[in-house]
């Protein structure tokens, strides 16, 4: 069996239980819910853009330690990045969890989010780790096709 202390490491535990990213933004361009109906994980991701830059992000919701920590760490990783950089990081994260890449140079771009690498050994928990990332991917795709603020805007 997998040594779970590698999955439930300090970084993941701290982020899941006491995340400073779990709050409301005073204003946001996007607010979107992501959920895994089978496990009941639910998060709402808020994103504020400034031109091409992801200026601020926050989340609310509930779920398992992995889904909550993954959301919080994703926010730390993507905040301040350009949309293009964010999309690349999201792609690498998803590939890491799905065991489609182990390229160390690529994985370095994930910064702290590399802490989730061992989740790739727990097929039952892959969905938990990917929830926020898929939600963010969705927001950025919508931003590209429909333009900022056209959907789910709720200031």
């Amino acid at each position: 069996m997998e040594d779970l202390t590698q999955v439930y490491n300090d970084l993941i535990m701290e982020h899941s239980m006491n995340s400073y990213n779990k709050k409301k933004l005073s204003s946001s361009d996007y607010s979107q819910m992501g959920h895994n109906p089978n496990c009941g994980d639910e998060i709402t991701l808020e994103v504020k853009l400034n031109g091409d830059i992801i200026e601020d992000m926050a989340f609310s919701g509930h779920g398992c330690a992995i889904s909550q920590a993954s959301t919080s760490v994703m926010i730390d990783t993507l905040k301040g990045k350009t949309i293009k950089e964010a999309k690349e990081i999201i792609k690498i994260f998803i590939e890491m969890i799905k065991r489609e890449t182990t390229d160390e140079e690529e994985l370095k771009k994930l910064e702290d989010a590399i802490a989730f690498q061992n989740v790739s050994n727990m097929p039952a928990r892959v969905k938990c780790a990917l929830l926020a990332w898929h939600t963010m991917e969705d927001i950025l795709n919508k931003n590209e096709t429909e333009g900022k603020g056209n959907i789910n805007c709720c200031n």
Binding site: M1, E14, M17, I66, A124
Partner: protein
């Protein structure tokens, strides 16, 4: 008490180093069931009801003899009252489509309990939407039970169908189905009993209960996946239209119209799951060979021990009636402040298999004010040692989380 080692009959419990506590989801299968299925494919596999050759007749006999065996097992009046389905879910859908949609009218009412599995809930929502009838719920009290007052206030003269699980798949509560059936009949409603979580553990007598319909899945009682049963009173089944159309459920087929076969074939369209039926027959033999008294004796001992040990862990929330006589072999719990999926993952790393999630009972979870639980469910092959493994794995999970828990 002398403990018999039933684990030796279950190859998977020999082959894998696991503590299997998810029998409420599906039980493991004894070698006696597995070998009956092998024997079927090795010696007499053919399409039943079709061939005039002896092989097909043998398959037909095995299939139909099992129907008779099940009728005796639950004390049905006749073998025609036993319909094979895919599982309890399909049996319930058959009832929703062939009874609910056809019989219910505007302002009629269906009553179910808040502890129903989605399979005894979602189909009735559809019936209510289509017929403009109303879906009402019987709620549980603070002991996780349905009170007499609740039953009597929700089942009214407008009630046409009462759907009730015999044993809750989340709480393990044994519902007073005798009382519910009597009261519903007084009010002119028919009663559908979901026996999926009860029939593996306790004797069911449909005549004594006077249930109008009763459903269960084979795979929760040692049989293979994909075989289920619908019991129905013959006079009601006879008046119902078929659910699934196709081969073997017909009498005469013309270009524009068809007459249907009598019971039970009317409800069994297409080639049936003969291996499943034969496996279910072998499972019933196995259960009868041990006997429900013995099963209850073992489970009382092991589940009682589990409850006592779990109650000692003050970091746990337990969702459990305090009345032992009203509780079966399912125990739901949470480590306070820790999500059940995380607990289940850590238990899994110790080889302990429990279910985590909403257990296909989202309305119950919402009623309890939680998202999900961990659930340990027991069968007669579980032992006190399995309970000890669960407790030690829970302690490990708690120790991993305790310094981060933010209550």
């Amino acid at each position: 008490m002398e403990m018999q080692d039933f684990k030796k009959d279950f190859p998977i419990l020999q082959n894998r180093k696991i503590t299997y506590l998810d029998s409420g989801a599906t039980t493991q299968k004894p070698i006696q069931v597995i070998s009956k299925i092998d024997e079927y494919y090795e010696k007499y596999n053919a399409n039943p009801h079709r061939g005039a050759y002896s092989l097909s007749i043998e398959a037909t006999e095995a299939y139909e003899n099992t129907r008779t065996k099940i009728a005796k097992f639950i004390n049905a009046r006749s073998r025609e009252e036993i319909i094979f389905s895919k599982n309890a879910t399909e049996s319930l859908n058959l009832l929703a489509y062939s009874y609910g949609l056809e019989k219910l009218k505007k302002d009629d009412e269906i009553v179910i309990s808040i502890m129903e599995h989605h399979s005894n809930l979602v189909p009735w929502q559809k019936v209510c939407n289509k017929t403009a009838s109303k879906l009402n719920y019987m709620y549980i009290n603070d002991q996780f039970e349905l009170s007499d007052e609740e039953i009597e206030s929700k089942i009214t003269d407008k009630t046409k169908i009462v759907g009730i699980t015999h044993v809750s798949n989340v709480l393990g509560t044994i519902n007073k189905i005798n009382k519910i059936i009597k009261y519903a009949h007084k009010k002119g409603a028919i009663v559908i009993v979901d026996a999926s979580q009860s029939i593996p553990h306790m004797k069911i007598d449909v005549q004594e209960l006077d249930a109008d319909f009763l459903v269960f899945s084979g795979h929760k009682m040692l049989a293979p996946l994909g075989i289920g049963v619908l019991y129905g009173k013959r006079e009601i089944l006879n008046k119902m239209s078929p659910f699934i159309m196709g081969g073997d459920m017909i009498e005469y087929v013309h270009e524009q119209e068809t007459t249907f076969a009598p019971l039970p074939n009317k409800f069994e369209a297409g080639t049936q799951n003969v291996e499943g039926v034969i496996g279910l027959g072998a499972a019933i033999d196995y259960i009868e060979n041990i006997g429900y008294d013995k099963i209850k004796q073992i489970e009382d001992e092991v589940v009682g021990y589990a409850i006592d040990e779990l109650k000692k862990l003050d970091y746990l929330d337990l969702y459990l009636t305090p009345n032992k006589e009203n509780h079966s072999s399912v125990i739901s719990f949470n480590i306070k402040g820790v999500h059940p999926h995380d607990v289940a993952s850590i238990l899994d790393s110790e080889g302990v298999c429990v279910r985590s999630g909403n257990h296909c009972a989202q309305p119950l979870m919402r009623f309890l004010g939680i998202d999900s639980t961990c659930r340990a469910s027991f069968y007669f092959y579980n032992t006190k040692e399995d309970v000890d493994n669960l407790i030690s794995a829970l302690n490990k999970a708690y120790n991993m989380f305790k310094k981060y828990i933010n209550l």
